[in-house]
Subunit: 160 residues, 2 copies
C-alpha cells in the first residue's frame, strides 16, 4: 500500500555522525572526529542503541510501503509500525548492540554485531538504560511466540 | 563542547507521521491519515518504541552540545551518546511505551505515558520485540546503580 501524501512543509534534517565498519569478524562504529567527545562515559555501559540510516531504503517506493508480509511470517500482513522492516516512511533503523570496546580518541566503538552493512551511516548512539529500555513483561503476537525472550548476546547480524 | 563541523553535503530528510497528544491523564499518539495502514497488527504487541523529534532542540546550539552534566548526576560529565538527553546532533528521541489501545481507523495509539509534550512530532513507531530490545544482562555505570532494572509499567512522563 502506498502513502498518499506527505506533509512536505514540515521536514527535518539529519546527517551522519559516523559509519558502520565490518571487516571479517570485526564490527565497529567509526565516529567522525567532531562527534567523538560525545562518547565520554559510554564505556561504562554494557550495551548501546545504534540509530542508523537505512540508506538503501531512502527512496519514494520504500518510504511509501506501509504494510508487508514479513519473511518470518509469510502469511501475516502486518503494518510497518508493527514490525522492524527497514522500509518505512522515515527509514531510521535501530539496533541494540553489546559493546566490546570504546576508544574515544579514535572514535571507535566495537560491538558484538549489528544487522547493517559496511558503510551504513550512523545517526545517533544512545546508551542502553534498563529503566528506559528493558521491559519486564513484554508480549508479542501469538504467531511469534516461539521467538527468544532476550536479545542474543552475540547480537544479530545482517544475515540473521 | 561545540561541534566543529558538519558534513553538510550528506543530509537526510525526515518528516512527522503524527503528533503526541496529552489531555489530562490521556496520552496518545495521533497518526496522520496517510500512515494509518502501517498500524495493522500493532495491537498484538504490549509495547511500542516511539521515535519523536525533539523540536525544541532543533537549533544549532543544542545540536552542537556533545557533553553534559545530567540532572541525575550533577558532577558527572558525560557524552550525549552515553545519556538520553534530548539535545544531541540528531535530536531523534525514543521512548518505550506500554500500549493501552490501538484504533487503526482513527489513527490513535493510546499509551501509558511518554516523556514528551503535547504536540511533539512523531517520526516512527516500532513494535517492541524482545529478541531485538530486551537485554538479559545490561550493566550501567556504578554511579547509576540504584536505578530500576526495568522500565516502570506506567511509563515515564515529561515531569519524571
Amino acid at each position: 500500500m502506498k502513502r498518499k501524501a506527505r506533509n512536505k512543509e514540515e521536514t527535518y534534517h539529519i546527517f551522519p555522525i559516523g559509519r558502520i565498519r565490518r571487516t571479517g569478524n570485526d564490527v565497529h562504529l567509526e565516529i567522525l572526529e567532531p562527534y567523538r567527545p560525545a562518547l565520554k562515559q559510554l564505556d561504562h555501559f554494557s550495551h548501546v542503541i545504534v540509530f542508523w540510516w537505512a540508506d538503501k531504503r531512502d527512496n519514494e517506493k520504500d518510504r511509501g510501503r506501509l504494510q508487508t508480509k514479513p519473511p518470518y511470517a509469510k502469511n501475516k500482513l502486518t503494518g510497518v509500525f508493527a514490525c522492524r522492516a527497514e522500509y518505512r516512511p522515515n527509514p531510521v533503523a535501530m539496533s541494540t548492540c553489546r559493546i566490546l570496546e570504546v576508544d574515544g580518541k579514535k572514535g571507535m566503538v566495537r560491538v558484538a554485531n549489528i544487522d547493517a552493512c559496511d558503510g551504513t551511516p550512523v545517526l545517533d548512539l544512545k546508551a542502553y538504560f534498563s529503566v528506559c529500555d528493558r521491559v519486564k513483561e513484554a508480549s508479542i503476537p501469538g504467531w511469534l511466540e516461539d521467538w527468544p525472550e532476550w536479545m542474543p548476546e552475540d547480537g544479530i547480524g545482517p544475515e540473521d
